[in-house]
Amino acid sequence: MSDYQPLKLYVPEPEVRPGDEPDFSGVDIPKAGSVRRPEIDASPEEFRDLAYSIIRVLDRKANAVGPWADMLSDEEAIIGLTDMLRVRAYDARMLMAQRQGKTSFYMQCLGEEAIACAFRKALSPGDMNFPTYRQQGLLTSTDYPIIDMMNQVYSNESDPLKGRQLPIMYSSKEYGFFSVSGNLATQFVQAVGWAMASAIKGDTKIAAGWIGDGSTAESDFHSSMVFASTYRAPVVLNIVNNQWAISTFQGIAKGDSATFAARGHGFGMPSLRVDGNDYLAVYAVAKWAIERARRNLGPTLIEYVTYRSGPHSTSDDPSAYRPKEESDAWPLGDPIERLKNHLIARDAWSEDRHVQTKARLESEILQAQKEAEKHGTLHSGGAPSTRDMFEGVYKEMPEHLRRQRQEAGV
């Protein structure tokens, strides 16, 4: 074999590192409005190309164009903008609270607000999300009390989860928000199971699974695809590709070719890519996929192309692994700015209303925060109690736990 060169390990690297100029020239961005809209019962083979493109509605001039446009009234679009402003304001306050030592940990969804906010609006009551830690927008876009989210973040006496969970691992059955797990990807396949149950029961409710670009590498991603495609489960499988997984760029999970959406093709699944910073596009695609699921036409895989503008969490400092300016250079822009400009262009909004709305939301959040803090913050002590720690491991407390609780003196 002397005529063969020695093999060499290939390790993908991002285009740029700290100190370099941000460079997104490799990201292929089709023109807004240019991607067609298949019928919801079309055969996935007929639109495989959509997994290699990006569905976009808002163009550079903030106009809504193409076959995926015109799905939301002025009012609905304004609600969308408000929802995004609200979650951004919430994130900013909670981030600050963590910095002030009021809790141990926090995670923002900065830059990705459109995805959860718009998706939520396309769902119906009774549908269930299986979110990651970055879909707080699914809750803040409903009337779930923000104060309860704060109570959870503070692990205080009013924490609905009794201090048991890390901040941001919310849970609300009523609001279709499944308990967030700290283990990546596990929820994705649970979403498929939930959806299968809906079909087994002859229900009309559907499920939505959520996963990050980095987490698609996990085994549970595969399980989800296998079960969802085999049983044609009524589930929408959402990949939020925000380019980064902590310090690791998406090329490590994906390799250098294909797209995350293209993983659906091996399972005969309809697979779409969408501009995740375009509220209107996200809504339109979500609506399409949800309708498909609810009509018993099976699962859809959606990749949202976006950018994680903030650090991974309060424990992270991205300047160690990517250029500081990369976020600003992101070619798909900011979801709030884009929808705002669109609404202004549409004459349904103004700079003034925007400033007022932002201020109103910030003050609402601040108000809620004050209320929440009356119930305590993480280190203010005392609550939740050690007794709460022993409860709820099983439906009924078994003897050995009773003895341990006694040993703990509570």
């Binding site: 048991r164 969970q165 849970s171 499944f178 199971g193 087994i200 549970d220 989800s224 296998v226």
Partner: protein, 338 residues
């Protein structure tokens, strides 16, 4: 009342709960049309429909992961892992998810799921068809772990497991499927029809989770056993003439502490028997608990008889298996100790 094998009892349990509760669904590898490689789900698909009993892809974490999602959505899935040796890919979903969903959601979401799996050796299955992973489940809070030793219990415990509101791991000693094997592999096989506990009532009944049962009352030494080892312990007792009190634990977690402690306080001696690898096996926990709670009653060290700390070998199966000779020797040893 019918004589059943353990396979039939298990099948009957699922049939009975599926008949009374339409939220019970059964799936796993080869369990649908074919009825499972051990035939535990035979005819369930025909009787209850393809959407309530079906074949699953070969993906154990997917089987448990989807079952969790179903349970969260109001069903009571009872899934089969083809051999306990293949539950390891599902261990994350079992130990990190199913076990904690009630706790982490403060009771909003719960996982009434049963995971059945054939366990143990004695069938020349080699290292990947013989393992007994119970200690990996007992270490995890939030799940229950059950091991029946006969058809009567198997049916009653399985119905109780499926109807339980917490996740239950249901370990089926495969060497007991067709008869009460006592470790004498060179003797003719005895069928369940010849054993009183092969007698299995028709219809619905439960054997409560968390309750042990005394299989043999004795004065000299307490034997803690479960699954196949209950029968091995009975044979060893018979053969040594030691007057042992044999406790069939049935549920390993939560453990029936009272029954165990009462017995050991009476006998002052304790032998713990299991087929799994010794180090960090469930016998370690039993030994630790007994000596913590009955220390002053003990006249001899709590003694473990277990599989060795090697993989389960193929040809040397009977040298690995803790048969009646080894259990008998331990009984005599603890009786001689002072």
């Amino acid at each position: 009342m019918a004589r059943m094998t353990m396979i039939e009892a298990i099948r009957d349990a699922m049939d009975v709960v599926m008949s009374v509760n339409e939220n019970v669904v059964v799936f796993g590898e080869d369990v649908g049309y074919f009825g499972g490689v051990f035939r535990c789900t035979q005819s369930l698909q025909e009787k209850h429909g393809k959407h309530r009993c079906f074949d699953a892809p070969i993906n154990e974490s997917g089987i448990v992961g989807t079952a969790i999602g179903m349970a969260v959505n109001g069903l009571r899935p009872c899934v089969e892992i083809q051999f306990a040796d293949y539950m390891y890919p599902a261990y994350d979903q079992i130990s990190q998810e199913a076990s904690r969903i009630r706790y982490r959601s403060n009771g909003e979401f719960t996982v009434p799921m049963t995971v059945r799996m054939p366990t143990g050796g004695g069938i020349f299955g080699g290292q990947t068809h013989s393992q007994s992973p119970e200690a990996l489940f007992t270490h995890i809070c939030g799940i229950k772990t059950v091991v029946p030793s006969n058809p009567y219990d198997a049916k009653g415990l399985l119905i109780a497991a499926i109807e339980d509101d917490d996740p239950v791991i249901f370990l089926e000693p495969k060497r007991l499927y067709n008869g009460p094997f006592d470790g004498h592999h060179d003797r003719p096989i005895i069928p369940w029809s010849k054993h009183p506990l092969g007698e299995t009532p028709d219809g619905h009944y439960t054997v409560p989770l968390g309750k042990a049962v005394i299989r043999r009352v004795g004065q000299d030494v307490t034997v803690l056993a479960y699954g196949t080892m209950v029968h091995v312990a009975e044979a060893a007792t018979e053969e040594t003439g030691v007057d042992a009190e044999i406790i069939d634990l049935r549920t390993l977690a939560p453990l029936d502490l009272d029954t165990i402690e009462e017995s050991v306080r009476k006998t002052g001696r304790c032998v713990v028997v299991h087929e799994a690898t010794r180090t960090s096996g469930y016998g370690a926990e039993l030994s630790a608990i007994v000596q913590e709670n009955c220390f002053y009653a003990l006249e001899a060290p709590v003694t473990r008889v277990t599989g060795w700390d090697t993989p389960y070998p193929h040809a040397q199966e009977w040298a690995y298996f803790p048969g009646p000779a080894r259990v008998g020797a331990a009984l005599k040893r603890v009786m001689e100790a002072s």
